[in-house]
């Protein structure tokens, strides 16, 4: 097992934080963008960039409700994202056990 098998998309610290935070929610639940931002401590622009990358990979799903100032964006981990995070942590554990 080598470091090459680690998913490079998740390996970025900010994206790993996002994935790990969303993984604490039960399947079928979503988290508001603003709450996620508060919990992770990223700037809105930075968070949006990382969320887009994860969403493009099919790891996240986002949903926008409402219009104008009352609009709200929620993000949730997809089954694929949950599986990818699981595989990532297993790989990492395997690598660390070799130390």
């Amino acid at each position: 097992m080598s470091a090459d098998t680690l998913d490079p998309l998740i390996h970025v610290p900010a994206r790993l934080q996002i994935m790990a935070t969303l993984a604490t929610l039960p399947a079928g639940d979503a988290l508001a963008f603003t709450r996620l931002q508060t919990m992770i401590g990223l700037t809105p622009g930075n968070l949006i960039t990382h969320l887009r990358k994860l969403e493009d990979a099919g790891y996240l799903a986002s949903e926008k409700t409402g219009n104008g100032p009352a609009s709200r964006t929620s993000v949730a981990l997809t089954h694929r994202g949950r599986a990818a995070l699981g595989a990532y942590t297993e790989t990492l554990r395997g690598l660390l056990n070799g130390l």
Partner: protein, 198 residues
């Protein structure tokens, strides 16, 4: 994973402090009723003052839970929110049924000692404890399940203390169970137990 553990804590409204408040509330609520009935011969049921103490304590408990819950679950939406609402509605119906049944007992001539003492002090806690147990079992929260089952057992056992003693037994028993739960929660916060990576 530290991030995941921190997120779990932030999204979970349960805390040792909330359990400590619940323990004090249980002691005050049931203690107030016990103080109002302990000298009654024959037993007629809690006085207005005792009930005011009980309901004020219950209101404090509800307010603290609602505050903690709203704070922890802010921004969370989806299936678990819908499940909680459905559970809340079912709990309200079950509690109303407890008091409807109490009315029926009074209607058919059961004594005040049974209706306003043993029954109401026991049935309410059994319903609350059973609901909590089902809630915890569905989420595989084993420590919560243990506490909920302990509450049901405390309630059932307290019935043997009679119409006056049931209130004291419920209050002390519930207080001890909730204090133990708070201690377990505090211990868990200091150790990495329960941490999992999906």
């Amino acid at each position: 994973m530290e991030t995941q553990r921190r997120a779990e804590r932030e999204l979970d409204f349960h805390s040792p402090w909330l359990s400590l408040i619940a323990a004090v509330v249980a002691l005050v609520a049931f203690g107030a009723v016990w103080l109002s009935v302990r000298g009654q011969h024959p037993y007629v049921g809690p006085t207005a003052l005792g009930l005011i103490g009980l309901y004020l304590a219950v209101l404090v408990r509800i307010a603290t839970v609602v505050y903690a819950h709203r704070r922890a679950k802010a921004g969370v939406s989806g299936r678990s929110v819908r499940q909680r609402r459905a559970e809340g509605a079912a709990l309200v119906v079950a509690l109303v049924a407890v008091y409807v049944f109490m009315g029926a007992l009074a209607h058919v001539g059961a004594s005040d000692a049974v209706v306003y003492g043993v029954y109401v002090g026991t049935a309410t806690l059994i319903v609350l404890g059973t609901f909590w147990a089902a809630h915890c079992a569905a989420r595989e929260d084993w420590s919560g399940l243990g506490v909920a089952m302990a509450i049901v057992l405390v309630a059932a056992g307290s019935a043997f203390a009679g119409p006056r003693g049931v209130w004291l037994s419920d209050g002390v028993g519930l207080c001890l169970v909730l204090l133990a739960y708070g201690a377990v929660q505090a211990w868990r916060l200091r150790t990495p137990h329960g941490t999992h990576v999906s």
